[in-house]
């Protein structure tokens, strides 16, 4: 098998596995801070119980993110040595700043956040929670700066085939960065909201009537309902930004072959790259022109303008539909749930089961979205600067294949273990009765 394809599958498998966990922890850190602040403000022990349950989920997710992230820090070098040779002067400082300003911060204060509750004053524990949430978000910031720069490079010049930085502000605030960062942070918020809602709904369905379950369920549903319309808006802006800078990617997302006006929105179809058309297409007339150009006659670029230089159409086309479809399902369910909470104060069993079914919907949408944008960048690794093939290493295919099999096996085990342990924790939490002895309570009473 082609070593470049193997290296891509290996890196793709690792980064896909990795992104699942930061997607949870980035937003969950802030939700934990919210629980802690509510507890500080109200003195209601239920908020602290919610904190105690979800901090376990945080710790577990964080550990999985750390170990897969370390693997990734090595794979940058082992799989893509050409990447650092060509653009290391830009990627290097961004990665270094991520380690310096984010990794140490979150890793160190995580210890205090998890185990320091009885060892530090209440305010210091709240501060530790804040610093962990801040650290995970900083980490997302730097890595998305680098990722966005790879899509829309700016602020550099090429000298003897090597990129040199000329303007760091332009590098950091490159054209797609604000949209991509916003889109990803919102994706994290939604993933976390549906995880909280799903797992809490499951506990509620198991007759766990603890106050903290009710609170967490409400927080999850309201958060989801509030974030999803913002995400749809930001996603649309991100798409328009991509149209400006990476038109071939948008053409693949839309499945549009010819550059023309009055382009229909292809709801579903089977892109046929050999014949360069869509089979079995179900279309809305002028839809794509209206979405992308905001007028029926708007001219939308087509794939035939980029023959040999556009990404493989089918994966981008399908992944985009999975992401959007999942977003629509999230909108429908979260608004239904929020409406029922508002009018009736609780959700019926059927809706609760729907939330359980959607527990990991954020993962599906996030992964699909990443596939759209990353496969959509091909054949480039850094748009216009470096192709993926140029960056690949000379490691023989057999060795990559062996380690790939190893990684896939361990990731499969870890994924099964992770999901089953989440539900196991949820089950155990319900059966345990009041969570903790009140021996330490006096120190924790909020100041009168």
């Amino acid at each position: 098998m082609d070593p470049i394809l193997l290296a891509r599958i290996q890196f793709g498998a690792n980064i896909s596995f990795h992104i699942l966990f930061p997607t949870i922890t980035i937003a969950l850190g802030w939700v934990l801070l919210f629980f802690k602040l509510r507890f500080n403000a109200t003195g209601n022990e239920a908020w602290m119980n919610a904190y105690r349950f979800w901090v376990k989920v945080f710790a577990l997710s964080f550990a999985l993110g750390v170990v897969s992230g370390i693997t990734m820090s090595f794979q940058f070098g082992t799989n893509w040595p050409g990447f650092m040779e060509r653009v290391g002067n830009i990627a290097g400082p961004l990665l270094a700043y991520e380690v310096l300003t984010a990794f140490f911060l979150e890793a160190t204060f995580l210890g205090i956040m998890l185990f320091g509750f009885r060892r530090v004053p209440g305010w210091a524990h709240t501060l530790a929670t804040f610093l962990v949430a801040f650290g995970t978000t900083m980490s997302a910031f730097w890595i998305l700066v680098l990722n966005s720069w790879m899509h829309t490079p700016a602020g550099f010049e090429m000298r003897e085939g090597v990129a040199h930085a000329t303007d760091w502000m332009a590098i950091i605030f490159n054209p797609s960065m604000p949209y991509r960062l916003g889109h990803m942070l919102l994706a994290s918020g939604l993933t976390c909201a549906f995880l909280i809602a799903g797992l809490s709904a499951w506990r509620w369905l198991r007759q766990d009537r603890s106050e903290d379950v009710r609170l967490a369920l409400r927080v999850g549903i309201w958060l989801a309902a509030a974030l999803i319309p913002v995400q749809i808006l930001v996603g649309d802006l991100h798409g328009l930004n991509t149209l400006e800078h990476q038109p071939a990617k948008v053409a693949a997302m839309e499945g549009n072959w010819e550059t023309r006006g009055n382009v229909p929105l292809v709801l579903f179809g089977v892109p046929n790259e050999r014949e360069r058309r869509n089979d079995y297409a179900i279309e809305i007339p002028n839809g794509a022109s209206l979405i992308l150009k905001h007028e029926a006659e708007g001219v939308v670029p087509g794939l035939n303008d980029f023959i040999g230089k556009h990404p493989p159409v089918a994966p981008v086309f399908y992944a985009f539909r999975i992401m959007v479809g999942m977003g629509m399902a999230m909108l429908a369910l979260s608004w239904l749930g929020a409406f029922l909470l508002w009018r009736k104060g609780e959700i019926p069993r059927l809706v609760a089961w729907a939330f359980v079914a959607m527990t990991f919907s954020g993962w599906v949408a996030t992964l699909a979205g990443w596939y759209v944008t990353e496969i959509g960048r091909q054949p480039w690794l850094v748009t216009g600067v470096l192709t993926t093939a140029q960056a690949a290493s000379a490691v023989p295919a057999g060795m990559i294949g062996t380690t790939l099999a190893l990684y896939l096996a361990i990731y499969a085990v870890l994924m099964v273990a992770y999901i089953s342990v989440l539900f196991h924790l949820a089950k155990k939490a319900g059966g345990a009765g009041p969570a903790a002895p009140p021996a330490y309570a006096p120190r924790l009473q909020p100041a009168e």
Partner: protein, 333 residues
């Protein structure tokens, strides 16, 4: 400024060396405790884990910084080294992955799986220690292929695992009391001897594989300056041995001493290696200066590092202060 610019590669080699030294000491004691868990029962294991629980994650971050600095500052060396060590790196990552997740799973998973996760924790710690030592051995050998070289690298693997076990035992002496501390003293004595054997083996083999190092070590007047390292190391081994013979003591005021001794031991060994290989970053193939990347990018990182590293040192110290003294049961509430 010019002086700094000209010496940026050396400064970055120093920063990288510092991160790697911090890593082998700090994650060294974590991994050592992980290996020693093989000897403990379930309740001892819980206490052993409690000594490293709040720290392991930050400790491991030094590896990310070290490898990150290699990648950023010396991309050419990074490519050479990681291509040579492709398989052991993958195995090390497997070990670190198992160790890191088992930390959480061993207490959160269903009861019937908890022992399996304990085994994953022990196996992962051992695998990471062995592969790191193996890679060190391959590095010392300048990545030459051959039966002897492989044998040496394997021996270095066991040597480093022994050294991690030693620093792990001294950490347990500092952070535990009662029967577990008594056992930790016995473990420390045994692993100290193994560490000594490993260091002697590496010290004998290193000048034999490299005529350059042989000259550097045994030519006059270098030998006078260099001789201080093995002499100090020898004195340290002897003092540690005598001290450990008198442990555990009734009062706990000196419980941290063996760990500090282990830190000094690691530092001396590290200095010896650094002295032997300077100015090479890939032995006999690539020097620090030849491997360095563009100056302007290194400047950006250096400024960030100068500003941020004091904060990192500060809050790391704060964390060790918060969890000072004998480890208590790990509780989320």
């Amino acid at each position: 400024m010019d002086l700094i610019s000209q010496n940026l590669p050396i400064i970055f080699a120093g920063l990288m060396a510092l991160s790697i030294l911090a890593y082998v000491i700090l994650d060294g004691y974590d991994l050592g405790v992980g290996i020693l868990m093989a000897r403990g029962d379930r309740s001892e294991r819980d206490r052993m884990i409690a000594t490293i629980g709040p720290f392991w994650d930050a400790n491991e971050t030094w590896l990310v910084l070290g490898i990150g600095l290699l990648l950023v500052a010396f991309p050419a060396a990074h490519g050479l080294i990681l291509t040579e060590l492709y398989l052991p790196v993958a195995l090390m990552l497997l070990g670190l992955t198992l160790r890191g997740v088992a930390f959480e799973f061993r207490v959160k998973a269903q009861t019937r799986f908890q022992n399996a996760w304990d085994r994953a924790f022990i196996g992962g710690s051992l695998l990471a220690a062995l592969t790191q030592g193996y890679m060190l051995g391959r590095y010392i050998m300048g990545f030459q292929a051959g039966l002897w070289q492989e044998a040496f690298a394997l021996a270095a693997g066991f040597g480093l695992a022994a050294a991690y076990t030693f620093v792990g035992s001294t950490w347990l002496i500092a952070k535990t009391e009662g029967t577990l501390q008594v056992r930790a003293v016995l473990w420390a004595r045994a692993s100290l001897l193994l560490t000594l054997a490993g260091m002697i083996a590496v010290s004998l083999a290193t000048p034999l594989v490299s005529p350059r190092i042989f000259d550097r070590w045994f030519s006059f007047p270098n030998i006078i300056g260099l001789a201080s390292i093995p002499l100090m190391t020898g004195a340290l081994f002897l003092s540690l041995w005598i001290f450990l013979r008198r442990m555990p003591r009734g009062d706990h005021s000196l419980d941290l001493v063996p760990f500090l001794g282990a830190m000094a031991l690691f530092t001396l060994g590290f200095l010896g290696l650094a002295y032997s290989f300077y100015p090479y970053i890939v032995p006999e193939k690539l020097t620090i200066r030849a491997a360095a990347s563009a100056t302007e990018s290194l400047w950006i990182i250096l400024l960030g590092a100068i500003f941020v590293l004091p904060f990192i040192a500060g809050y790391t110290a704060f964390s060790y202060y918060v969890f000072r003294g004998k480890a208590r049961e790990l509780r989320y509430d």
